[in-house]
């Protein structure tokens, strides 16, 4: 099985300082959070762009950013951004759940992605093969983006603009999170860099 390596950016409060964050972040989401991919460690992927925006919006500009590598077997990542087969699979998951909910007389109008994932994660506690993933990557549609035809005569269009991708690593996938470094704010970054350099000199991972 191939390995997947994802560059992740975790936004958090500055509380505790650089050393504390380097040692303890990322922080697992809490029930009060908008954890729409269920509980886990949340990252923005590939760029710190949205991590900074989230810091300004969600933490009133009092935020830090932890950069990490998340490395895991490809079969343990449910990639709803870049893997069509994973998208197909998730659609089947949702479809089966929805069909069964209808069958038992449940209300499907408010069925959320979070509920579908949480249900299957719960069932996987008895049998991991039901939902064998350590992480989910997904994106949401956050704004109207420009559509541009592929060719002058094409009716098919491409969506311009960057995608807002999130990665949720479940608690069981904590070991996949490596190479942590605090990259924002600058004062924290300097401290983090010093600590990491010292560790490297001492031969500590």
């Amino acid at each position: 099985m191939s390995r997947v390596e994802i560059l992740g950016f975790h936004t958090c409060k500055v509380t505790g300082g650089a050393v504390f964050l380097l040692e303890n972040a990322p922080f697992i989401s809490q029930s009060s959070d908008n954890q729409w991919l269920t509980q886990g460690y949340y990252f923005w992927t590939d760029s710190d762009h949205f991590a900074k925006i989230w810091g300004r919006v969600g933490y009133d500009n009092q935020y830090a950013i932890l950069q990490c590598n998340i490395c895991l077997d490809s079969g343990l990542l449910l990639d709803l951004v870049g893997a069509v087969t994973d998208q197909q699979y998730f659609q089947r998951l949702a479809s089966k759940f929805k069909a069964h909910l209808v069958k038992v007389g449940g209300n499907i109008n408010g069925l959320t992605v979070n509920a579908v994932i949480d249900f299957y994660r719960g069932e996987s506690e008895r049998n991991p093969e039901v939902f064998p993933f350590l992480a989910i990557k997904a994106q949401d549609h956050y704004e109207e983006r420009e559509l541009i035809p592929f060719t002058p005569s094409a009716t098919d269009k491409m969506i311009l603009g960057i995608t807002r991708q999130q990665l949720c690593v479940f608690e069981g996938g904590l070991a996949t999170i490596t190479d942590k470094q605090v990259i924002f704010p600058e004062t924290f970054k300097k401290k983090s860099d010093q600590i990491i350099e010292a560790r490297n000199l001492e031969g500590i991972g």
Binding site: N34, Q35, W36, L37, G75, V84, T85, D86, Q87, Q88, Y89, Q91, R92, L93, A94, S95, K96, K98, A99, H100, L101, V104, G105, G106, G110, L111, T112, V113, N114, A115, V116, D118, F119, Y120, G122, E123, N127, E129, V130, F131, P132, A138, D140, T155, D156, K157
Partner: protein, 96 residues
């Protein structure tokens, strides 16, 4: 889809065959907190809606064929007819 997906889906079929309505609804009520996007929003509300309105082609086909949906939204009548014919010929199985 790969072996991991297929195994998971087979186990889920088995799960839904054996779980009682009461247990399922209890578990559903426990997990549904109204957090985040709806399934219909996440998978594309227009896709889900159009699936219901069009015809009983496979749900998989409709989702896999995002191109199919986009053509219906923006294509000519000729485009629609052409793609509809292709969709009818698709070997995909019926929705679960």
């Amino acid at each position: 889809m790969n072996d991991i997906h297929e195994k998971s889906l087979a186990l889920i079929d088995e799960l839904f065959e054996n779980i009682s309505d009461e247990e399922f609804l209890t578990k559903y009520n426990a997990v549904e907190k109204g957090i985040g996007p709806l399934v219909s929003e996440f998978l594309g509300a227009s896709i889900g809606d159009k699936y219901e309105l069009l015809q009983p082609v496979s749900f998989d086909l409709l989702i896999d064929g995002l191109h199919y949906i986009q053509l219906f939204q923006s294509g000519t009548n000729e485009d629609k007819a052409s793609f509809q014919s292709a969709a009818n010929d698709c070997p995909y199985s019926m929705a679960a």
